[in-house]
């Protein structure tokens, strides 16, 4: 019965995805129209004659009214057809398929690194309040918030990539050319990406651990002779992870924007790089497709988080 309630909830959330995505696509569509410069001038160069511009605009359907353009785009998009890139003339679905894996890999590695560091550090900071681990967390938090990711990216490329040559200073080596060279090309941006959210998640976990550890059932557990380690790592952590999960969901969004920056700095062929290139080249169909995809991704991640919630916390039922 609970499963079917959960199933109903998921279906409801998926249906809610429709208006969200309509909003996302409409917003990105109109923002692009409002931005100065057009794909046509980019493609033809600024010496092109008025007649050539008109001709190309007609060919690309850019001479149609705004909503006509939008709805014809939408109708195609619903069939999974995002059209061709203005610039490269490669089908966008194909472009995205190539790039998505890189960004997903980067994000997944970054999340794993974040959690591997944030959980022990957050727990240590809460159990050894105002001692070394706690101060470390505070330092990382301040550093993580104040150092811009492109700056730490460049410094780390210089140090680890150029000076010590531990990792690739940039560029992407696909996994087909060996696991180690591949990891060397993604590990540094993944670490920087992890670092951005590390502070936030660690601080959140520390705060909720402190809250849970002061609750009655922890003291009651001690009075039943349950070992401190079990109380901290099993009882308290599971409770404290519930609010932290929300923050993790939110940081996925930050992570995507971080990926845009870092893929540019490290010249990785990911979605972020595709997006930035598309912006510079006024490659409108690519922009629209990527923005919609990111919106979709963000909403789906938050749906997963909410479902994860109900698994961790029996008090939450839909």
């Amino acid at each position: 019965m609970q499963i079917s309630a959960l199933g109903r909830y998921i279906i409801k959330r998926l249906l809610l995805l429709i208006p969200v995505l309509l909003g996302v696509s409409l917003l990105s569509f109109s923002l692009i129209k409002l931005a100065p410069g057009s794909a046509v001038t980019y493609m033809l160069g600024d010496q092109a004659s008025e007649a050539m511009v008109r001709a190309l605009e007609r060919q690309l359907n850019l001479d149609q009214p705004f909503f006509t353009q939008y709805f014809s785009w939408l109708a195609n998009a619903l069939q999974g057809e995002f059209g061709m890139s203005f610039v490269t003339q490669i089908p966008i679905t194909e472009l995205i398929a190539q790039r998505l894996a890189v960004t997903l890999e980067l994000s997944v590695i970054a999340i794993v690194i974040t959690l591997l560091i944030a959980i022990p550090l957050g727990v240590a900071a809460a159990t050894k309040q105002n001692r070394l681990p706690d101060h470390t967390v505070r330092f990382i938090a301040v550093a993580g918030v104040s150092i811009p990711d492109f700056w730490s990216g460049i410094i780390l490329i210089f140090l680890l990539g150029v000076q010590f040559q531990w990792v690739a200073p940039g560029g992407y080596t696909p996994i087909s050319e060996g696991l180690l060279p591949h990891l060397r090309s993604v590990i540094l941006p993944a670490c920087i990406l992890a670092f951005i959210n590390l502070a936030l998640i660690t601080r959140m976990l520390r705060a909720s651990m402190l809250d849970v550890l002061s609750q009655n059932f922890i003291q009651a557990g001690r009075s039943f002779g349950i070992a401190e380690r079990e109380l901290v790592w099993r009882d308290a952590l599971k409770n404290a992870f519930i609010p932290t999960l929300t923050v993790i969901g939110l940081t996925i969004g930050i992570m995507l924007s971080g990926a845009v920056m870092l893929e540019t700095v490290f010249s990785l062929p990911g979605l972020g790089k595709l997006l930035v290139d598309a912006v510079f080249q006024r490659d409108i169909p690519v922009l629209q497709a990527v923005l919609t995809l990111i919106g979709c991704f963000y909403v789906l991640v938050n749906l997963f988080i909410d479902v994860g919630y109900s698994m961790l916390d029996p008090r939450i039922r839909f």
Binding site: Q215, A220, R222, S223, F224, G225, I226, D235, N239, L312
Partner: protein
Amino acid sequence: MTVAPLTPPQPLLEVSNLCVDFPSEGHTVFAVDDVSFTLAQGEITGLVGESGSGKSVTSMAILRLIQPPGKIRSGKLRFEGQDLLTLDDDAMRRVRGGGIAMISQNPANSLNPVMTVGDQLTRVIRLHLGLSRQEAYEEALRGLRQVEIHSPERRMVQYPHELSGGMCQRVMIAMAMAPKPRLIIADEPTTALDVTVQKQIIHLLDQLRQRHGVGVIFVSHDIAVVSQIADKVLVLYAGRAMEQGLVNQVLTAPRHPYTRALLASMPYLGASKLRQRVPVIPGHVPNPTAAIKGCIFAPRCAHRIDACTAERPVMVPVGNQGAVACLRAEELAEAPSRLTGVRI
């Protein structure tokens, strides 16, 4: 033929001269100051006092669970002859839950909200009795039946938020009893519950005492509840022992002015006038610090003389098993008291 021991049988718990300090800005609060009492097997002692009297701190100290910066400054805690204060951490952990179990004030948040009742019960059972998963499950069911929980199989897979407060308290009692402890500390076990459930829980504790011979320390601010269940009572005020003795003696013939005032301030049904005012003790409970000389109750005491603020009264034995810490106890006992005892 065995020779009968000359000494009386060893008490289950012996608390002697227990002192617990909590340092706070600039001064130290003596939360428990020189408290002594003993508890025999199968006996129920009530710890009575207002908030801040040190009753909860005393019970936490017995389990050595005083949270830093608070600490047990001095005193002795002997449980079944074993000195608890010199035990190492592992041995002390086996005593917690295994030898001495605690039932705390708020049953609803004494259980982990994200673990099933069954998981929490079997964890404690396995920890102390070393049973297999299956055996522990059976034992947990038996425990739940013993505290009169219906359809225990269903309760095992439920989470604490799916149970009522009274039901949670029964689960806590089952969890406390399952590892077969010899002493139960019940810290205000009925305060958060309504009166009918209160009665059931008290009845249950009494039954368990009779059936298994466990000793119980029953901590409560409610003298009426204590009078229903306890054999002996210890009255605490601002961390110090005021009076102790058999419950009937203390409640019908209180020796200490504080005990009398406390009993007199109890409302009761059937008062002669409907709007009769309940007498109150003037003033408020002081923060017990080093600065206080003499009797700590003296500033609020109606029978205070100069000597009371100069010298700290010691516990003097009175009557059968009783003791009182008041300079004027004897003198006041002879004078007919204005204050009447409690009607039980």
